[in-house]
Subunit: 352 residues, 3 copies
C-alpha cells in the first residue's frame, strides 16, 4: 500500500521537480514539491539498501544499513554545507536526534502499546545503545560546547576534528562488536525467530540500480531544496533553526517513521527500537562527524558546536530515553511521555 | 497519638490565629502561629481525603488523592501569587520537590533501614516514576530556562503555558494509565495484601465537611501568612528564596513527612515511596503548571522559569533519586545519602 | 616482575633525586626524575598498606586502604596548596576522577574483554557506587559551582567547608555501611572465594617501616616537584590545567592502573572495578574535602569550586560510568567507550 503511494509520488514528483526547477516556479511550491519527492525517493533507497543487506549477509549487510541508512540526510546536509548553511545543518542533526528518539520511538511505543499491554525488546541491546547515546551526546557533543567558550577558532576546529575522528572510530568499533565479536552473544529467546528466512525484495543488480538512480536524483533535488530555505523562513515566519530541527529532520526521516511504527504494531519491538535508536546513533556518531570533516573542504567549515537550546534538547532527550528504555519494556504511556517531550521541544524551537 | 497532638494544635491554633490577626500581633509571632496551625489543619485535610478516597473506590480515590494531596501548598501559593510573590512561589515549588525527594524519602529510607537491613518496594513503580521525574524536571523545567535566555516576555509566557498544558495532560494520562488501563498489571507479590480491606476513618459526609471547613480556614490563614514573609525575611536575615525553599516547603508537607516515615518503619516501603515520589510528581506535574495558568488571571503572571540554583538543585536531586531507586531496594545508607544532599542544598540556599 | 622494576627505580631514583635537587639540575630533568621516583615509591606504599590491611583484619584493613590508598596524591596536593597552586590541585583532583573512571576502568574492561567475552562484577556494589558517584560529583561538586556565581568570597568558603564536611561524614558512613552493618549482605556467589586466605606480603613492623620511610621521601620529593610545574608548563607549552589533569593524575595513580588491569586480566573484575571506582570515590569524597579543610591553614585557601570544563568532564564521565556499569557486566567495547571518552577529554584539556 505505502509502496504504491511512494511509487505514485515518485512518478509525479520527479518530473515536476525538474520542470519546476527549470521554469523557476515559486519557492514555496518548489519547497513542498522537493520535500515530498525526496520522502518518496528515500523510501526506494531504504528498500534497495534493505535488499542489498539481505543479499550480502548479516555482516556486510549490517555495515550497509549502518552507512546508507541516513544517506538522504547526509546528501541534503552536504549541499546545505556547500551553500554555507552551517546553522541549518547543525539544527537538522539535532532534529534527527530528537525526531528519532522522541517522535519515532514515541509513536512506536504509543501505537504498539494501544494494541499490547506490555511490549518487550532486547534489554542488552537497550543498555548497549544507552552507553553509546551517553557517549555521543553527553560526552562528544557537550564537551566541545563548554571547552570552546573562550577558545580561538582554529583550536575549536582542531577539537571538533579530533572528537569527530574519535566518534567515527568508536562507531566502526561498535559495528565490529555487534557484527563480528559479539554477534548473537546477547540474544534473548524471542530474538531467534525474528530475523529468520528473510527474502530480498529485489535482486542484487536491480537494488544497486535503484539505489544509484535515486541517490543521483535526491542529490539534484537537495541542491535546489537548500536554496528555498531562506525564502521559506522569510515567508512562513519560521526561523532557520525551526526549518532545520523540524522540517529537514522530518523529510530526512519520514521512511523510518513509517516502518518503525509498523514494526511496533506487529509487536516486533526489537526492530522498532533498533530503527529509532540505531538511527539516532548513526546520525550522532557517523553523519555528524563525517559532515564536520567534509566541511573542511568547503569555504565555511562546520565545528561540532551546537547551540545551547539544541544541546539541552538532545541531552534531556537522551537522559529520558536511557531511563525509559532501561528495563527493556514499553507501554503506551512511555510512548506518550516521549511524544510530550517532543511537543515541548517543538514549541520551544518554534518560539526561539 | 499524633492525631491528638494535631487536634490540640488546631483547637488552640485556629482561634489564636483569628485573634492575633485581628489584634495585629507582631509578625514574627503570627508567622510561627500561622505555620503551626496550617500544619495541624493539613493533617485533618489529609485524613479527610484518605477517607473519601477509600469510600470512592480505587479509581476515583486515586484521583482524589492525586488532586487534593497538595491542596495546602496550592492554596498558600495562590495567595502568594495574588500578592505578587512570584519568586517565593517558584522557590516553594522547588522546596517541595527537594523536600519530598530528599528529606521525606531520605528519612523514610534511613529510619526504616535502622530497623530492617534491606527494604523492598515495587521496582516497576520506581521505574515508571523515574521516567516521569526525568520528564517533569529535566525536560519540562530545564528546557524553558535555556530556551528563554534571549526571548521576549510574551514568548516566554507562551512557552510556559504550552509546557504547563503538556504537563497537566501527561499527568492526567499517568493517572489514567495507573488507575484504568494498567491497574494491577505491574503488581509484585508483596503488593497484594498491602492495600486490602481498608476501612475509612470517617464517613463520606463527615470527611467532606472536615475537608471543606479545613480548606476555608487554611485559605484564610494563608492569605495572612504570605504577608508576614517580607517581615520574617528582614528580621531573621533570611532571603525570600530560603523562606520559600525551606520554610514554606516544610509547612506544606509536614503531614506527608510524618506518614511516610511511619510507613517505612512498618516496612510498608511501597507506600512510603509512593508518598514521597508521588507527591514530588504531583507538585511538578500538577501544582506547578496549574499555578502558571492561574497566574494569568492575576496582575503578575508567573512564567515556568526557575532560577539556576533552583534548577540545578532539582536536576541533581532527580538524577540521584533515579540512580538510588532504580533497583527497588533501600537501606539506611541510601537514606543518609539523600539526607546529606538535602543538607548541602539547605546550606547553599541559606547562603544564597 | 613489576615489583623488581619498581625496586630498581627506587634504588636509582631516590639518590638521584636528592643529588639532583642539591645540585640544581635542570627543571625538565628533575620533573621527570621526581615523577618516576614517586611512581616507584607509590607502589611500595601500596604494598605496605595492603600488607597492613590484611594483618589488621577486614574492618580496620578496609579503613586503612580507604585512607592511605591515595596518600601520594594527598601529599603532592598539600605541597602544591602550600605553594599556592590552587588551580593545579583542583585540576589534579579532576584528573584523578577522570583517570580512574575512564582510563583505569576503561583499560581494565578493554584488556579483560580481549580475553573474556563477558566479564561480571558484583552488581550491588556497582549500584552502591553509582549512588555515591552521583552524590559526590553531581550534587557536591556541581551545587557550589552554580550557587556561588554571585556569592562573596567568604560565603563561598563557608559553603565549601560545609559541603566538604558533609562529604567526609558520608564517606565515613559509607565505610561503616560496607565494613560493619552490611558486610557480606550483598555478596554474590562468585564473591565468596575471591577474598579468601590472603597472606600479607610483609610483617606488621616491616610494613609500617616501609610506609613511614616511603611517605617521608615522597613528601620531600613532592615539595620540590611542585616547584618544577611552572617551568614545565612554560617550556613544554602546556597549561597548568593540562599538567594537573593529565600529568599529576597519572603520576599519582600509576600503581592503581597497573594492578586494576592485572586483576581484569585474571578475570577478577570485582577487584578491578573496586580499585577504579573505589579510588574515584576516595578522591572525590575524602581527598578533595580534606584538601579544602587543610587549605584553611595556608595563605591561600581552596574553595570547592571547579572550573566549568573540569566540572562538565567529571559529570559526563560519571553519567557514562553509571549507565555502563549499571548491569554488572563488561566487555571490550564498554572499555573502548570509556577510553574514547578519555581521549576526547585529553584533547580538550590540551587545547584549553
Amino acid at each position: 500500500m505505502t509502496n504504491k503511494i511512494f511509487m505514485l509520488m515518485t512518478l509525479i514528483g520527479v518530473p515536476l521537480s525538474f520542470i519546476g526547477t527549470l521554469m523557476h516556479w515559486s519557492n514555496g511550491i518548489l519547497f513542498i514539491l522537493y520535500c515530498l519527492t525526496i520522502i518518496a525517493l528515500a523510501s526506494f533507497m531504504g528498500r534497495a539498501t534493505e535488499s542489498l543487506a539481505i543479499v550480502a549477509g548479516p555482516r556486510i549487510g549490517g555495515l550497509l544499513n549502518a552507512t546508507f541508512g541516513n544517506a538522504v540526510e547526509l546528501i541534503i546536509s552536504i549541499f546545505a554545507l556547500k551553500a554555507g548553511l552551517v546553522g541549518v545543518v547543525l539544527a537538522s542533526l539535532t532534529g534527527s536526534v530528537l525526531g528519532n528518539l522522541l517522535l519515532v520511538a514515541g509513536l512506536s511505543f504509543f501505537i504498539g502499546g494501544l494494541k499490547y499491554k506490555r511490549q518487550e525488546f532486547n534489554v542488552y541491546d537497550a543498555r548497549h545503545n544507552s552507553g553509546l547515546l551517553m557517549f555521543a551526546v553527553i560526552v562528544a557533543f557537550v564537551i566541545p560546547a563548554v571547552f570552546t567558550l573562550n577558545m580561538s577558532e582554529g583550536k575549536t576546529l582542531t577539537l571538533s576534528v579530533g572528537i569527530s575522528s574519535t566518534l567515527i572510530v568508536l562507531y566502526l568499533a561498535a559495528l565490529f562488536f555487534k557484527l563480528v565479536t559479539h554477534r548473537g552473544v546477547y540474544q534473548t529467546t524471542n530474538d531467534i525467530d525474528t530475523h529468520d528466512e528473510e527474502e530480498p525484495e529485489w535482486g542484487k543488480w536491480k537494488a544497486i540500480a535503484v539505489l544509484a538512480i535515486a541517490t543521483i536524483i535526491v542529490a539534484y533535488i537537495s541542491e535546489h531544496l537548500v536554496h528555498t530555505f531562506e525564502f521559506v523562513a522569510e515567508s512562513f515566519g519560521w526561523t532557520e533553526l525551526f526549518i532545520g530541527v523540524i522540517i529537514v529532520a522530518i523529510v530526512g526521516n519520514a521512511a523510518e517513521h513509517a516502518s518503525a511504527v509498523l514494526m511496533a504494531f506487529k509487536n516486533k519491538m526489537d526492530v522498532a527500537v533498533e530503527i529509532a535508536i540505531g538511527s539516532t546513533l548513526q546520525v550522532a556518531m557517523f553523519v555528524a562527524p563525517v559532515l564536520v570533516i567534509v566541511s573542511l573542504f568547503f569555504n565555511q567549515s562546520m565545528p561540532l558546536i551546537f547551540s545551547w537550546p539544541e544541546l539541552i534538547a538532545m541531552v534531556s532527550s537522551v537522559l529520558l530515553m536511557v531511563v525509559i528504555s532501561n528495563d527493556g519494556e514499553t507501554n503506551w504511556f512511555e510512548g506518550l511521555t516521549l511524544l510530550a517531550a517532543y511537543v515541548i521541544m517543538g514549541i520551544g524551537f518554534f518560539l526561539l
